[in-house]
Symmetry: C2
């Protein structure tokens, strides 16, 4: 966050050490003391750069997202239909996170806690989520045959869908995570079919009703909202 090169270098060193230790020992066993030691800084200094151990995880999110985008690369532009575009992005996602499976559960454990900065719905994680959603935006943009109204909300829905797959992956104990792969491929197929059906122009009213509900879903973050008054 600081522009000075020295500061940035120290920050990187600490994050680097943390990710290494998470990989080697898992999240719990990687103590802040050990992380600081490996980074060659004092414990207090590590806390100067990262407000808490959980904040180190934000670094993990950022990093895997960058790797994911790099993995997706330019090939996405060559794919023209929705299904193969989504499939490609999801494949790359699973490949990117695979090395972290051992401790991913612990990393994601705060996802359900509204008070945690890691919660994907929290303001602190907004930047990563927005970028991740944009990737799904690219999937939609380059696809044909999707109804205009659907295009607005679809990236958010696909982000949510991908979180569901990741959640399954976290719990997946099968060899090489083959169950997750299977589920992903089948569900991508299903999603693509749903999108096709939902795009039929004859389905205007139910589509609008469903989209209205989905829009509501996204508004949860807004605080203290009052119910609509009676007329």
């Amino acid at each position: 966050m600081n522009a000075r090169p020295k500061s940035a270098a120290t920050r990187t060193k600490i994050l680097e050490a943390a990710l290494e230790l998470f990989r080697e020992r898992g999240y719990e066993a990687a103590t802040m003391r050990a992380i600081a030691e490996r980074a060659g800084v004092s414990l207090g200094n590590a806390y100067y750069y990262f407000g808490s151990k959980e904040h180190l995880i934000q670094g993990f999110y950022d990093r895997t997202h960058i790797e994911h985008v790099a993995g997706v690369g330019a090939k996405l532009d060559g794919l023209k239909d929705f299904k193969s575009r989504l499939l490609w992005v999801m494949r790359k996602k699973l490949e990117t996170i695979e090395p972290y499976h051992r401790f991913a559960g612990l990393l994601f454990r705060s996802a359900a806690d509204p008070a945690s900065p890691l919660n994907p719905f929290s303001s602190e994680s907004q930047p990563v989520r927005r970028e991740a959603t944009e990737l799904f935006g690219r999937v939609v943009e380059g696809s044909k045959g999707i109804h205009k109204d659907l295009r607005v909300e679809l990236p958010n829905l696909l982000w949510l869908y991908h979180m569901g797959i990741v959640l399954f992956w976290i719990h997946d104990k099968s060899q090489g995570r083959w169950r997750t792969w299977q589920l992903m491929e089948r569900s991508v197929d299903l999603v693509a079919k749903l999108v096709t059906v939902a795009s039929y122009s004859a389905l205007g009213p139910p589509r609008r009703a469903a989209l209205a509900m989905i829009r509501k879903l996204r508004e949860t973050g807004d605080e203290n909202t009052k119910p609509p008054g009676r007329h």
Copy 2:
């Protein structure tokens, strides 16, 4: 877990004290030391009964589930169509958990952690989950017009659906949780319609395909399974 009355009494005292303090101060602020003190036992003794602070939460799950079932009561038997049955059960759910909203986030935070005993997919929480699923089983049993194949898997799907609503509720900061109520009512409607459509006998093949995928989903708990060999 112990049959002796003395043991059971101490156990209850500790759980009681814990739930009180959770309510008063929230999960984090209710220290094990304070819980032990209020229960009139030593810290070590509290740990004799509950392996960890998280294990106390299991007690919370159990308790709210019992309250939920009591709230649903006999009235469920009087309702005949699927939609009103599901609506009734979901309403009672939201009413039951409402008093715990303040600290519910912290209670549910471990839900995403495969290593946690609180994870609803873990073996330790199996009994509660099974009982909760059975409640949705009752919803399905008493309803007409649902295809036979669907009846097997539907209780599990409804349990999952209800977990989604609870997740939304956790993050809901609107007054009186009206957003959750609105979402619940609209989505119950949607679910009911989906079940109706999915029950059309003309839809045999796609229904079977979807159910096959869903069955796969449930098998994640099984450890170290190998991918199906090639033929």
